[in-house]
Symmetry: C2
Subunit: 340 residues, 2 copies
C-alpha cells in the first residue's frame, strides 16, 4: 500500500493525503480524520527511503562503532544501549551502527553525514581534543557527546556524570577515615572520564596535604584481569595503600581476588570503593563484602541522550548545552578506618 493507492481509494490527491498524515494545517479536519482512519485500516506505512529522499530526514540516529580484531566493545555499551533503545522505541527512532576501523573513524563519520543516513549521532568515550568531536562539529550534524572532551575552543552539547566530584567524594571519605595511602585503579587514562576521576582523587588528597604517588595509580582497560594485576602490584609494594578507589565493578572483581590471594581482608586491611555503572548482572551489594560505590546508571544516561538527540533533531534543543549529573556515593561494608 503506497501513497498513490491510498489517495486513489480516497479520491484525494497525494498531496492532500500526505499533508493530512503529516499534520499540516491546510487540510480539513474532517478530511484528515477520514485519511487517518483509512491509513490505519489499511496499515499504510510511508516508505522511509522515499521519504528520506524527499525530505533528507531518516528517522535514525547513528553511532560509529569502532571495530577490529583487537578492539573490544565496552560491556557498558550494552547497558547504555538499553536506555537509548528504550527511549528510541517510544519515538519510532532506529539506531544505526556503522562499524568502522577503530583507527579511522573519520571516514565513516563523513560518509554517514554526507549520505544523510542519519539525523543525528552520538559520540561516546571521548578523549581530550577528540578528533571525532571536532569533525562532527564542523560537519554540522546534530550530535551529543556522552562524556566530555577537553581542550577545544568551542562548546558542544554533552551529557556527562560528575566523575571528578564522585571520585573526590570517595577519596575524601577514605581520607576522613584516616587513610593516608590511597591508590587509584583507573580506566584507560587517555579517556577524559579517567582524567577527571584522577583529578578528583588528587584534589581530595591535596586538601589534606596528601598526594597520589606515581606508584599508586594504575590505568588499564577495565577487565577483571587488569584489576587483579593492578591490585597485586599495589598491595605487594612496600608502601602498599590502605585504600583503593577503583573505576569499575569488573576491575573490583579482580581487586577482591588479589586481596584474597594475598591473605588480606576487606575492609580490615584494605578499604575499597568502586564506580558502579549499574549492571543488572553484577551488583556491588553482592560482593563478598558489600562494595561501597559511586553510582550512576549508565542506562538512564542512554535514555537521556536519546531524548536530547530527538529534541535536537526536531529543533527543540539547540546550542551547546552541557549536562552534568551528580553521582551518588553509596557506602557499604567495604570501607573502614585505616588499619593500625
Amino acid at each position: 500500500m503506497n501513497l498513490k493507492q491510498l489517495s486513489h481509494m480516497l479520491s484525494l490527491s497525494q498531496t492532500t493525503v500526505s499533508r493530512a498524515l503529516n499534520g499540516y494545517p491546510e487540510v480539513n479536519e474532517e478530511t484528515r480524520r477520514r485519511v487517518m482512519d483509512a491509513a490505519k485500516r489499511h496499515g499504510y506505512r510511508p516508505n522511509p527511503s522515499a521519504r528520506r529522499l524527499a525530505t533528507g530526514k531518516s528517522g535514525m540516529i547513528g553511532y560509529v562503532l569502532p571495530t577490529g580484531n583487537a578492539v573490544d566493545i565496552d560491556p557498558h555499551f550494552v547497558e547504555f544501549l538499553s536506555g537509548l533503545g528504550d527511549y528510541a522505541r517510544s519515538h519510532e527512532l532506529d539506531l544505526v551502527l556503522s562499524p568502522a576501523d577503530a583507527d579511522d573513524q573519520e571516514t565513516t563519520y563523513r560518509r554517514i553525514v554526507a549520505n544523510r543516513q542519519v539525523d543525528a549521532v552520538y559520540i561516546s568515550s571521548p578523549r581530550p581534543a577528540d578528533r571525532r568531536l571536532a569533525l562532527v562539529n564542523t560537519l554540522g550534524i546534530p550530535f551529543i557527546v556522552h562524556g566530555r572532551s577537553e581542550g577545544f575552543d568551542f562548546d558542544y552539547p554533552y551529557l556527562d556524570i560528575d566523575n571528578e566530584g564522585a571520585f573526590h567524594e570517595a577519596a575524601r571519605l577514605l581520607v576522613q577515615l584516616g587513610h593516608k595511602r590511597l591508590a587509584l585503579i583507573n580506566g584507560d587514562d587517555r579517556e577524559t572520564f579517567a582524567i577527571h576521576r584522577e583529578r578528583g582523587v588528587r584534589r581530595a588528597l591535596a586538601a589534606s596535604g596528601l598526594t597520589l604517588g606515581e606508584r599508586h595509580i594504575c590505568s588499564a582497560t577495565m577487565t577483571e584481569e587488569n584489576g587483579y594485576r593492578a591490585a597485586r602490584r599495589l598491595l605487594e609494594d612496600s608502601e602498599a595503600p590502605t585504600a583503593i578507589v577503583c573505576s569499575s565493578l569488573i576491575m573490583a572483581l579482580g581487586v577482591v581476588r588479589a586481596v584474597r590471594d594475598l591473605g588480606l581482608t576487606i575492609p580490615g586491611d584494605l578499604s575499597l570503593v568502586a564506580h558502579d555503572d549499574v549492571f543488572p548482572w553484577l551488583r556491588p551489594e553482592n560482593f563478598p563484602v558489600p562494595l561501597s560505590t559511586t553510582r550512576s546508571s549508565i542506562r538512564l544516561a542512554g535514555a537521556r541522550v536519546a531524548e536530547r538527540l530527538a529534541a535536537r533533531i526536531s529543533g527543540l534543543e539547540e546550542g551547546a548545552r552541557g549536562e552534568v549529573w551528580p553521582v551518588d556515593l553509596v557506602i557499604r561494608g567495604s570501607v573502614a578506618g585505616a588499619p593500625g
Copy 2:
C-alpha cells in the same frame, strides 16, 4: 556531488556512469576507467536513499532489539556485535537496531520488512516454536537465526553451537570422575539453548544410570546473583551435589561466592564446569580456582552470522542450511574426583 553532476562533467549520460560504477558489462573498459577515476577524484558517493528507493536494497542488516523498563539486554550481545561489526565493516554493511516493545516484536519486524529498511535480519536467543522465526520465514526476508528453535515443520538457516554435545561432554567428564550427584545451573529454560544443555546433561547421566533430580536443576537469567542463589539452594540441600555444571561465567561468579560463604572449597567439595562465551573482561583461568569450561567464542559466531547474511543478500547462499559448531571442553583446576 551527485550522479547528474558527475555525468555532466564527463559528458556522459547518467546511465553510462551508473553502469560503469556498478560494474555492468555494457560499457567500454576505457570509459569505465575514466568514470571510476573521476568518481574517486571527486569523492562521489551515491546517495543511499536514492539507491534504496530505486533498487529496494539498503545495504543494512537489521536486528530487532527488545526493550522495556524491565528488559535487560544480554551482556553477550555486545560480544556478538563485536564480531558482527568486524565483518560488516569490511563489507560496507551497516547494522540497524530497531528497538521494540519486548512483548510485541512482531509489529517491528513487519515494519522493517515492509519498508525494505534492511536487506536481511538475524534473530537471536530463539525459543522453541519462536514466533519471530515463523513470522520472518513467511515474510520472505533473508535471515539467519543465531541459535536454534524447535517444533517447526519447516527448516531455516541458523548458526548454533553444539550446546547439547558440550554439556554432555562436561557432565560425562564429571560422572567419570565419580560424581553421582550432579546439578545444573541453567539460563532461562524457555530458551532453546538451555533446553539443549539440560538434554546433554541428562543424556550423560542416563548413560551411567543416573538422573538429574528436580532439585538439582535451576534456571534463571544469567546474573551473578542468580548464580549465587542457585548454588546456595543446591548446596544447602540434604542431597547437595558434588558437581555443578553452570551455563555462564557470570553465574559461576555467584557459585564461587556461595561455595566460599558456605565454607566449602573447589574442587575439594565441589567440582565446577561453566560455559564460557569468551568475554575479554572475564576469563575462566582467572577465577580463584581456574575454571573448567565449555568454550565457544560468541564473537566468532557474530562474524560468521554477518558473513552468511551477506552471502544471502547477494544470493550466494540459499536454502535452510543449519550450521552447528563443536564446543571445546577445557579442563582446568575446578574439577576433581568426587569427594569421599
